[in-house]
Symmetry: C2
Subunit: 244 residues, 2 copies
């Protein structure tokens, strides 16, 4: 783990836009170090007590759960976090996590100690509620993942995952280019959707041949976003984005 002394203030990106400027101004100085991890690295491990939380600045991280004892254990991705997500804020009230957090791509994260969080919000119930809400948006996303894996067929699942991820990546307000660096391997997508890597390959070909979107080398290029949202039956309400 590399840690650098912070040299410049963090920008308020992605989901952090849900915080008011004054609240952000109070929280931001608490991010005193930067942590960088390389793809595949386990950022924090299930069961290990945590005294800090992480704000994702760049890259993609996943929450991974192991199912089955010892050998033959399979992994499954139950969440993906994009830049601007407060990755494990829920470790603040819970103290211990029930899942691993892994770097899917090379990532940069800003670190804040729970002690610091506590001193900032303890006498500010409204601020506390806002952070609480942030963790509940993650819960809503989890519900949607259960929904996706429970009700949708393969094509729709993948389209829906893509629709969710790009909507969340756009949430920061950066220009919408139609191109997204997900950097997920096909088996990664399979893990997230409960499908085999081979089947992901078939689905990606179908999406490509439908002139909907193209996924090459971790880069998602969306040619027809309306078509993608239609296939995905995508309704972003569950993301609790401002102005919906």
């Amino acid at each position: 783990m590399l840690e650098f002394k912070k040299t410049a203030p963090l920008a308020q990106i992605g989901m952090m836009h849900q915080l008011s400027a004054p609240h952000w101004a109070q929280l931001e100085p608490g991010f005193t170090t930067l942590r960088e991890c390389t793809a595949g690295e386990v950022i924090s491990e299930r069961g290990q007590p945590l005294d800090h939380s992480l704000l994702l600045v760049d890259g993609i991280v996943g929450r991974r759960i192991k199912v089955g004892r010892k050998q033959g254990a399979r992994h499954h991705l139950v969440a993906l976090q994009v830049p601007g997500d407060f990755v494990d804020l829920h470790a603040y009230p819970l103290k211990v996590l029930d899942h691993d957090i892994v770097a899917i791509t090379d990532v940069q994260m800003a670190v804040i100690s729970h002690e610091r969080v506590k001193s900032v919000i303890d006498d500010q119930p409204e601020f506390t509620r806002q952070l609480w809400s942030l963790t509940l948006v993650d819960a809503a996303i989890h519900r949607h993942w259960a929904l996706r894996n429970g009700t949708m067929r393969a094509l729709q699942r993948v389209a829906n995952l893509f629709a969710e991820l790009i909507t969340r990546m756009d949430a920061g307000g950066a220009a919408v280019t139609g191109s997204y660096a997900l950097n997920l391997s096909q088996p990664h997508i399979g893990d997230a959707c409960g499908l085999s890597g081979v089947h992901i390959n078939r689905v990606l070909r179908t999406l490509r041949e439908a002139n909907c979107c193209t996924y090459v080398k971790g880069e998602l290029v969306v040619q027809d976003r309306a078509a993608l949202n239609l296939i995905a039956e995508f309704d972003p309400d569950y993301l609790y984005l401002p102005g919906s």
Copy 2:
């Protein structure tokens, strides 16, 4: 909706055991009314602003999400709550829910206003964190549902759901009898597991013929809990039960 003036104090059941006695003592008087719903009734509807939350006293309620526009819309159960669960405490910070809450069986719930919650916890950051944690256990359960629907085949899914539900129902400390009144129809179970009702029927027969458990008329009788946990590859860590 029937509402009664409360006549006797509520007992601290199920998940509410996670609160300390003094905290419970402060919260309990806030539950001033009882609400009863009959099976199938929608308790609160997606998108509707809420000014109160509900503690489930008796029966089973589900969180249900509709997928697809207008006609041809399918439903999916993304969570089930058992007695002792603070069903929609997350409505306190979020104000609005992204899903419906429906009564699966006839249910009794205790109502507490958000105003009351606020006045009790606003100057008690530690108490706030405990309630925050309660909502995050729900999030952990959602993650597990995504995992279940994503990685497991039908038999294991159903066994795992059963294992989860009975573990949570036992959490209150009541005597473990091996018999549980789930009162879910087979299509309900299918909704929760992302399987057809017909296939649930096949799975239930398999579980019965394996002398593992029997599900008749909404009553789950567990003959061999070890076998059930084995089939389910069940590991209750994610429930954050005390003493694990």
